[in-house]
Amino acid sequence: MVHISDGVLAPEVWIAGYMVTGVLLAWTLRKMRAYDIPRLSIITAAVFVASLIHIPIGPTSAHFVLNGFAGVMLGIFSYPSIFIALTLQALLFQHGGITTIGINTVNMGVPALVAHGIFKLGSTTKIQRKEELFGAFAGGAAVFLAVVLLSVALLTTGREFEKVVMLIAAAHVPIILIEAIAVGSIIAFLKKVKPEIIGVKA
């Protein structure tokens, strides 16, 4: 998954990104308690590290995004978690930009919140293996939505980006599939090994 770097977007777009992120951060941080912080941080770090694994696809490679998984694990706190992960990626690896931290957090964090909703809805149903199924769906949907939001951010900047957006979107199709399989598999594993982490009763 690519994050938008500095210097590409129109100022209106990244300023709007900072505004949305500011509001969502203020809301979620107020709900966060002091003893949540270490747990949230270690999961943030785990998502950060896991997303550095690369799977080769032809000449290029794909890596896990795991924003949907963060949503499933952390609920609304996935938003600050993704904000921190993206800030660190921009500072430590120059992946993404400084001015675009706000909009990149919207692109990844809002789908995480949606994934949280999907998984929560799914766990009220009575389908067999619902955690794996809805986990995979939430994981894939979160990446798909992230690509949609990324495309919107680029297209509102200018019509000139149309072809670039098409290229970026096409490149993400395999990533969505890989992500769905991986998130389904992580959740199936956690359900067997340590169900309380994902809020499932043993």
């Binding site: 210097g7 270690i42 690369h54 400084i98 670039v164 992580i186 956690l190």
Partner: protein, 254 residues
């Protein structure tokens, strides 16, 4: 293999930027980054790039080290550079059969490229000239919300712990015959490994936190070297912020 973050590898060098007060350094260079990203004139953006390169040279951070880190920016910028010269409407520069390169397309792509690289280069003098712990302490004294500062601090520390954990897990998977390839099985197996990573880290986080609280941790960061502002810290801020504002005063004239 997974890479450790080592942006502060050259924080022990000595240069005027290294001994600049961390808070003033962060704020000044951030203002410069925002200023350059907001430029619309290609010539002014080039001046911004030159300023970024000069600051990188002053900081003495080796170019070879910086080059490796520019991979992601280049990766993101490349499609713009390959496509936009052909798709943006405007005055034609060259023509190959059906494709035509336009002046507007080339300048737009160059502008994006120059702004992106200037911002990425400036991160090195800003962050790479001090220990990351110092950066976190500076964020705290700049009144960034305490919960965010704590999350940055914990997450940063855990990245190293979990990277080495995941590296050893991948190594043992490889020795048992696992190979990274594009198949249904690869993401499934990796998913299980990542699940294990979460299980292992989950309980550790609570043990560490309890240990910290019992030793008197209340959420603020203590260091043995409190920051002290000197006149020369302000003196260094003056040209940097001056350039940031100056670029936009010129933008009005050009």
């Amino acid at each position: 293999m997974i890479q450790y973050p080592e942006i502060d590898r050259y924080s022990a060098l000595s240069s005027p930027i290294h001994d600049w007060d961390p808070r003033v350094k962060l704020v000044s260079i951030l203002i410069l980054i925002f200023s350059i990203v907001l430029l619309y004139d290609l010539k002014l953006a080039f001046i911004g790039l030159i300023v970024a390169v000069i600051m990188l040279f002053i900081s003495k951070i080796p170019l070879r080290f910086v080059g490796v880190y520019l991979k992601w920016v280049s990766f993101f910028i490349l499609p713009f550079f390959l496509i936009m010269p052909f798709t943006v409407q405007g005055t034609e520069l060259y023509r190959f059969h059906v494709l035509s390169v336009t002046y507007e397309g080339v300048t737009y792509a160059l502008l994006i490229c120059v702004r992106a690289f200037s911002a990425a280069l400036l991160i090195f003098p800003m962050i790479g000239t001090m220990k990351f712990g110092t950066t976190i302490k500076a964020l705290e004294s700049l009144k960034v919300p305490n919960k965010l500062v704590q999350m940055v601090m914990f997450t940063y520390r855990y990245i190293f712990v979990l990277t080495s954990e995941l590296q050893s897990m991948l190594r043992s998977m490889n020795s048992r015959g696992f190979a990274m390839r594009l198949s249904m099985q690869t993401p499934r197996t990796l998913g299980k490994a990542i699940g294990m990573l979460f299980v292992r880290s989950y309980e550790r986080s609570e043990r560490v936190y309890n240990a910290m609280v019992s030793r008197g941790y209340v959420g603020n960061i203590r260091t043995s070297h409190p920051f002290k502002l000197r006149d020369k810290d302000w003196l260094k801020a003056f040209p940097v912020i001056g350039i940031a504002i100056g670029l936009h005063c010129f933008a009005g004239i050009v």
